[in-house]
Assembly symmetry: C2
Homo-oligomer: 214 residues x 2
Amino acid sequence: MTDLAQTSPLQEEGRSARKRRAIMEAATGLFLRNGYQGTSMDEVAALAAVSKQTVYKHFTDKEQLFNAIILGAAERVGDFTDTVAAFADTENLEEDLGELARRYITTVIQPRTLQLRRLLIAEAGRFPAIARDYYQRAPGRTIDAFADTFQKLAGRGLLRIDDPSGAAAQFAWLILSQPMDRAMFFADEQQYTPADLHRFADEGVRVFLAAYRT
Amino acid sequence: MTDLAQTSPLQEEGRSARKRRAIMEAATGLFLRNGYQGTSMDEVAALAAVSKQTVYKHFTDKEQLFNAIILGAAERVGDFTDTVAAFADTENLEEDLGELARRYITTVIQPRTLQLRRLLIAEAGRFPAIARDYYQRAPGRTIDAFADTFQKLAGRGLLRIDDPSGAAAQFAWLILSQPMDRAMFFADEQQYTPADLHRFADEGVRVFLAAYRT
DNA sequence: TGGGTACTGGACTGTACAGTACTGAGTTGA
DNA sequence: TCAACTCAGTACTGTACAGTCCAGTACCCA
């Protein structure tokens, strides 16, 4: 893993690596906006300011390119697990959970993440493996982290929880569902202000605590 | 509205109408399974056992055919509003709400509905009007019905609710989110048994009542 | 400075597909 | 039974696109 090259797009990257990055950036934008079938390799090459030949030197296939793009984009989706784990030590359940929820929704309800989600749902039939992988990685890991943390909080006597996984999923969706669902159907439009998102978070936390607080 | 023709696919339909129905049925299946771009007019004609000429006699365009298909499929999505409205008179809140939730999830989490949802999300970029229309019609109307009913129950002193719409959305997604989200990413596989769905419904109702019951 | 590697540009192949055109056959209604 | 209509079958047009090929050019390293 040559992280240097990834984190700093400098000149010293080498020509080949630079081209490769240009291709991936172009392809990411196009795939996210226009989908798999809606994106042509000619477009990718043109937007990356690179010849088609070069595209095919770096990626054997359109499919392989798509794969690489999705994995890259999914990796960059905010990893929330650490933040969630830290919350297990809270001394102020209600306030900290509210803060956690606000950060969670702000992280997830972002154009990039939503586009990625739409794309994966759209292509779940054609690329079941990628869809499954993403599902387990992105929402799955966070919900697992919630489950762990809730279990610890139950151990500390702060929550009353039988099924931590179920409760974690309920928590996540109580917060995210409304804006997420809407965003799935309304492709482009700017949807919610931060204040809106905070309201969803707060209402979700309120309901969750009503059901699970000791 | 010649409902006769729709409800009974009899011989007396007339040749032309019969063909039209065959085309729509074939196209519905193909679009739902393979998406808009993944479906060719040749396939539609072949599956409907009809010549391409005939397809284009009934539908000027691929796009227009798609439109007709979606509207037809969306209309057949279960209308739940009456059932929800009837629940406003309940004498047994917890039990009846549980029953309502179970029916709700069983109705919504069906292959057809899920495929339609996937398709619409996938094509929301290309057909924003259709996506918007469906969004307002299918989940929207049901949630509005929940909101009305919850407001009435609040009037009867059975629930404590400030924002009926928000509470209704929370209720709907508390019940549906988990299986719905999973279904979006796992295209084909049979997912949940009725017992699983009932469990989601029951858990959702439990949390909802903990937060909103007086 | 020279030699190898990577890139460019554009032409090319093969295929898939939307939509049209046309001929001949079947259907329907008077 | 005849005339008008509809359909099947198929061939065709035009376009878009994935992937290849090749000749020439820029870059990089010794």
